[in-house]
Symmetry: C2
Subunit: 281 residues, 2 copies
């Protein structure tokens, strides 16, 4: 069980959020840092919502802060504290990684959707000129839609039980990527290259399926954000329909290399990270 040895020269990546007990990042990053001999450690910091706006700038004034991972409940609030944010973070209205640029500016990005996109590409699929349906347009759905758009998607359908959420997301994506054709209001999967369940449906045993499996085509790539089990009933149905599928946990490991690049650290493959991680997966 490798773990970084902390010395006086060790840099910190703070993992900010509450509650902290379910944090996985220390158990994924730290074994990789130890394996690579990097003098760097991810440290959970249980920052209360009312303290976050004061704490974050001071944290980044420590000489040995390398960056921060931002999780609930700070992902939205953090945007107001940054100097520069990526297009993806702007579309999501949320940010989950912060670093200090060499010019001193605090820079934020959002990588939740990158995990989905990289996993899809690593499974041999392409996004350029493709079409996608994203069901569930909250935090993670917005992130996936924004990352798909950034990767060159041609056509995007958004669906959420809350129609205003879909329409607002559509508008933000259209502003940043005016060439994408965007529709809202339907979760019919017919004719889409990529299908995403970004709702929590599948976490509970008797949840309805987010997309009608009878309308699935074997040509579609079907992905899932729910991580509570290896294969949700929705993914099982997609697999039965002949679709290539992506389990929720893949998103987690596929997005870590994006963070490593953001923090200007040696990158790793998702498989390397998964092999080293101290996770019960």
């Amino acid at each position: 069980m490798r773990h970084p040895v902390i010395t006086g020269t060790t840099q910190i990546i703070a993992h900010l959020g509450v509650p902290t007990p379910a944090f996985k990042a220390p158990l994924i990053y730290n074994p990789w840092f130890a394996d690579q001999g990097l003098d760097l450690v991810v440290v959970p910091m249980g920052c209360e919502p009312q303290d976050f706006a004061d704490f974050l700038p001071l944290l980044f004034r420590l000489r040995n802060t390398r960056g921060a991972l931002i999780t609930m409940p700070h992902k939205v609030r953090v945007l107001d504290l940054l100097d520069d944010i990526s297009t993806t973070a702007r579309i999501c209205g949320a940010c989950n990684a912060v670093r200090r640029a060499p010019n001193g500016r605090l820079v934020g990005d959002m990588f939740d959707g990158q995990g989905f996109v990289r996993g899809l590409i690593n499974k041999g699929r392409t996004i350029g000129q493709a079409s996608a349906l994203v069901v569930g347009n909250g935090g993670v759905g917005s992130a996936i839609a924004a990352s798909l758009a950034e990767a060159g998607l041609a056509r995007l359908a958004l669906y959420d039980a809350n129609q205003q959420a879909s329409q607002a997301l559509a508008k933000r994506i259209a502003c940043a990527y005016p060439n994408i054709r965007i529709t809202t209001g339907s979760n019919d999967p017919l004719g889409f290259d990529i299908l995403v369940n970004a709702t929590p449906l599948g976490m509970q045993a008797h949840d309805p399926l987010p997309i009608d499996p009878a309308r699935l085509s074997p040509a579609s790539f079907v992905g899932e954000v729910v991580m509570s089990q290896q294969e949700t009933p929705f993914l099982a149905a997609a697999r039965a329909a002949g679709c290539q599928v992506q389990v929720g946990i893949d998103m987690l490991f596929e997005q870590i290399p994006a963070y490593l690049e953001f923090f200007d650290l040696p990158s790793a493959s998702p498989d390397q990270l998964r092999r080293l991680a101290h996770l019960p997966l």
Copy 2:
């Protein structure tokens, strides 16, 4: 090389100061925490002087902050940020450990002198009713004098090239411990049970000795704060005069159990700590 595995439930003891590279605490505490299976880690935080007053209270509002080790340049400044400080910290005008009491108050103490006192006692000597000469009345000399006073010293002589420092320290000790006989202005070791070099003399190769070795009696216990080498010329002279001696590094390991008790953690013997520590000693 054992090191704590950091998870979402890990508590932090922040080691605050700049510059951080010479920090030894992570290399002493963390192996002990790992050995004991404690879910706790010492993390260096290079806090700038101008940020310290804002940072410390916020640090202690994190849900997983267990305590803080305070080092240069914050040891004096920290007193203004605390709700309760020990008599020793008050005498020193400095504090090197902070915890949050169950009632929420920030409590500070100073353990630099405890290391000297515990080392002396562990070497079979006693302080109650004894006499001591402390040469060098700056930070660490004040701490040793205060801890000797707390341990029941009967007579104390203070000497510093800066006479005002000696007199001010004498006054603060006299207020807290009115029964101790205190004198200042002489570094003549004759007749003292305990002699302490708390000056930096001995760090450089050609430093003069802090106390005239010709006046040493073999009955005296002679201790040293300089850690740059195992035995300074002063300690070598004291040993040659037949005195029992205490090297500087002993103070370091003898004071750690005092911190562990302060943070309400399982204590360790200095030998256990030394055996586990990742230090080139």
